[in-house]
């Protein structure tokens, strides 16, 4: 075997090594691309367990509190906001309320369709601080269903809730924020 052939042999084995390494690295690339998408369900599960992102229960729960903690008062604030492109007037009837943990409360929100056509709205709630979300229970909420409003129609929508007895002691104020979306296109 002369020098030229030796070099050639060297090149062939390194080409084989190269394609092996490339394949492994491409596998990492594909896996990480998948991992990016896997973060979506992972994030949901993580938030579900910890209540991290302030998402509250999206279906009604029964009132199961074992009592009312009269020694403690928690302030619950309500804020509303319209997402892009929904011309509704949407606001809480009362801005804040004080409740004892375990005590059931009923509050209402006012909505009016200021557009000249029918719109289906959907309110999406979020609780701040996020960790309190798992301790805020909605027995009945307009956010569980879609809200179709005809042009110029107005409505008062109710929310019935209670704050869990187990609410961590360092949380004294809860802010419940509703964002209203126009889902006319998506629901038709």
């Amino acid at each position: 075997m002369n020098k030229e052939e030796q070099n050639q042999a060297g090149i062939n084995t390194s080409a084989k090594n190269n394609s092996k390494t490339v394949k492994k690295l491409l596998l990492v690339v594909v896996a990480m691309f998948g991992f990016g998408f896997a973060l979506v369900p992972l994030y949901d599960v993580f938030c579900d367990i910890t209540g991290l992102n302030g998402k509250t229960n999206d279906t009604a729960v029964a009132y199961t509190s074992t009592g009312i903690d009269k020694s403690r008062l928690v302030k619950v604030q309500f804020i509303t906001r319209n997402a892009k492109g929904i011309p509704w007037k949407f606001e809480p009837v009362i801005n804040e309320i004080e409740v004892h943990p375990g005590e059931m409360k009923l509050v209402s929100f006012y909505a009016k369709n200021n557009a000249a056509h029918d719109i289906i709205g959907q309110a999406v709630p979020s609780v701040s601080p996020g960790l309190a979300a798992n301790y805020f229970h909605k027995i009945e909420c307009f956010c569980f269903t879609q809200q179709p409003l005809k042009a110029a129609e107005e409505v008062e929508m109710t929310l019935q809730f209670y704050v869990d007895l187990e609410l961590p002691a360092d949380i004294n104020t809860l802010t419940l924020s509703y964002t209203l979306y126009d889902i006319t296109e998506k629901s038709s």
Binding site: S14, V22, V28, M32, F33, G36, L39, Y43, P129
Partner: protein, 539 residues
């Protein structure tokens, strides 16, 4: 230069003539080239052109901010400028410049004839101009360029997008593919093409930092591709990854983005560490202090970068344990970084220092990057971050690490290897002018931004309250001066390519490394036969 090397060079040239893979002429040489030196040159020029493009945008931004009130541009156009300035500097200037260094130097430093995958190398460069053509073309469209910030937070880039999201997403896809191909090439080259006898722990630290950076790129660029894809489908195909109306969560965007984004900032600084770890020993005439601790420090910075992303999001309403976790992990990064700074200083300690331009840029790097690191530590503290978040303090911080950090290291490297690349010494006087003008103006430009931020001036605004006027005027003057100073570099490089004092094979007497065993300018093909063992032992 040893006689061995001369013999080898003449062999190379002979080889060249008889071989069909010789140089083509004209534009075809550059379009079809698979030569690592040609591709390195292309990357470096492309990066510099992009640097000037992004810099021109910064000049308009600073002109608008010269005094309070709206003078030159509309707020929407201002937002487009800040967004595209950021994107171009990150993906178009700093990253391609480093890939250029990798292409030019890694094969020569490890004694390999070329990169392992030369054709892919050609591709990974040539798709890049198309990515930036797509991005920049959106400036000339009715809707305008992306205006949602380089971090493209949803829903700014989805629901509230001005219609440029698709162009933006495809441009990022192409940049990502280019980076991934470049990174795969670097890893394969380093793993498979090291000269016999060059073990991993004998590799120059420059090669180590690019090796680790390439792994970071392979790990996080796909995540970026994923997140922009989600953005695309959210905007145009009715999915709801980040849309609360459909059950998504806009904060999740920030988590995924910064899972990419934080390793990305180390992608832009680790190669800089590699460059100054090459230049500082050369001009201190000592070996790098603590080589293996440098390798381990670089690796631990890379690993830690995956678990600190949420320090960009302290104000999104994280629970306390989350804030503490990310705060402590972030502060932990100061330890390996401190090891590196210590080692650079220890390398200089009692060395016989000389202050050629590459060394000046390297010393400025060590000092100014450390300032950027300190402001980073301040930002890492959750309680105070609530005040600093989204202010000019953040702008000051990341410009200190990216401009006086990454960019200064690129200049250090460019001056250090220009004799090897062109065969000529650069004009020393002009290069010193470049350094001193840059050093003074860059501090005038970015240092007062700390005070502006602490006083509460928010970032990404075209107009500001009157009390910020004086500092902004100085910042803008510094900005213009810094911009003009960079043109000196262009002149130096062009003069150096066209002529100048002939460079010897090893123009720096303290320089170590295989690249100095070949002639200057480096022959088109180097190390067709592996370097001698004694040369490897010497580095």
């Amino acid at each position: 230069m040893t006689t061995d090397a001369i013999a080898q060079d003449s062999h190379d040239e002979h080889h060249d003539d008889s071989h069909e893979h010789g140089k083509m002429t004209g534009i075809k040489r550059w379009l079809y080239t698979t030569n690592h030196k040609d591709i390195g040159t292309l990357y470096l020029w492309f990066a510099f052109i992009m640097f000037l493009t992004g810099g021109a945008m910064a000049m308009v931004i600073r002109a608008e901010l010269f005094q309070p009130g709206l003078q030159l541009v509309e707020p929407d156009f201002f937002n487009q400028l800040t967004t595209v300035h950021g994107l171009i500097m990150v993906f178009g200037a700093i990253m391609p410049a480093f890939t250029g260094f990798a292409n030019w130097m890694i094969p020569m430093m490890i004694g390999a004839p070329d990169m392992a995958l030369p054709r892919m190398n050609n591709w990974s460069f040539w798709i890049l101009p198309f990515a930036f053509a797509i991005l920049l073309s959106s400036f000339f469209m009715e809707s305008g360029a992306p205006n949602f910030g380089w971090t493209f937070y949803a829903p700014l880039s989805t629901t509230y997008s001005n219609g440029s999201t698709a162009f933006f997403v495809f441009a990022v896809h192409i940049m990502g593919i280019s980076s991934i191909m470049g990174a795969i090439n670097i890893v394969v080259t380093i793993m498979n093409l090291r000269a016999p006898g060059m073990t991993y722990m004998k590799m120059p630290l420059f090669v180590w930092t690019f090796f680790i950076t390439a792994y970071l790129l392979i790990a996080v660029m796909p995540v970026l591709a994923g997140v922009v894809t989600m953005l695309l489908t959210d905007t145009y195909f009715g999915t709801s990854f980040f849309d609360a109306a459909g059950g998504g969560d806009p904060v999740m965007f920030q988590h995924i983005f910064w899972f990419f984004g934080h390793p990305e900032v180390y992608i832009m600084i680790l190669p800089a560490f590699g460059i100054v770890s090459t230049t500082i020993p050369a001009f201190s005439r000592k070996r790098l202090f603590g080589y293996s601790s440098m390798v381990y420090a670089t690796s631990s910075i890379a690993l830690l970068s995956f678990i600190v992303w949420a320090h960009h999001m302290f104000t999104t309403g994280m629970p306390l344990f989350g804030e503490l976790f990310f705060m402590y992990c972030t502060m932990l990064i100061a330890v390996p970084t401190g090891v590196k700074v210590f080692n650079w200083v220890a390398t200089m300690w009692r060395g016989s220092l000389s202050f050629e331009t590459p060394m000046l840029f390297s010393i400025a790097f060590v000092i100014l990057f450390t300032i950027g690191g300190f402001s980073g530590l301040m930002l890492a503290m959750t309680p105070v971050d609530f005040q600093y978040h989204d202010t000019y303090f953040v702008v000051a911080h990341f410009h200190y690490v990216l401009v006086t950090g990454s960019l200064f290291s690129i200049y250090a490297g460019a001056y250090y290897w220009l004799p090897k690349w062109t065969g000529h010494m650069y004009n020393d006087t002009l290069s010193k002018w470049h350094f001193w003008c840059s050093l003074i103006s860059v501090n005038l430009l970015f240092f007062p931004m700390h005070f502006l931020g602490l006083a509460g001036m928010p970032r990404r605004i075209p107009d500001y309250a009157l009390q910020f006027a004086d500092f902004n005027k100085w910042v803008s003057i510094g900005g213009f001066a810094f911009g003009i100073s960079q043109l000196i570099f262009l002149v130096v490089v062009i003069k150096c390519i066209r002529g100048g004092e002939k460079a010897p094979a090893k123009p720096w007497d303290g320089a170590l490394g295989l690249e100095w065993t070949v002639a200057s300018p480096a022959p088109y093909h180097t190390f067709s036969t592996p370097p001698a063992q004694k040369d490897i032992d010497n580095i």
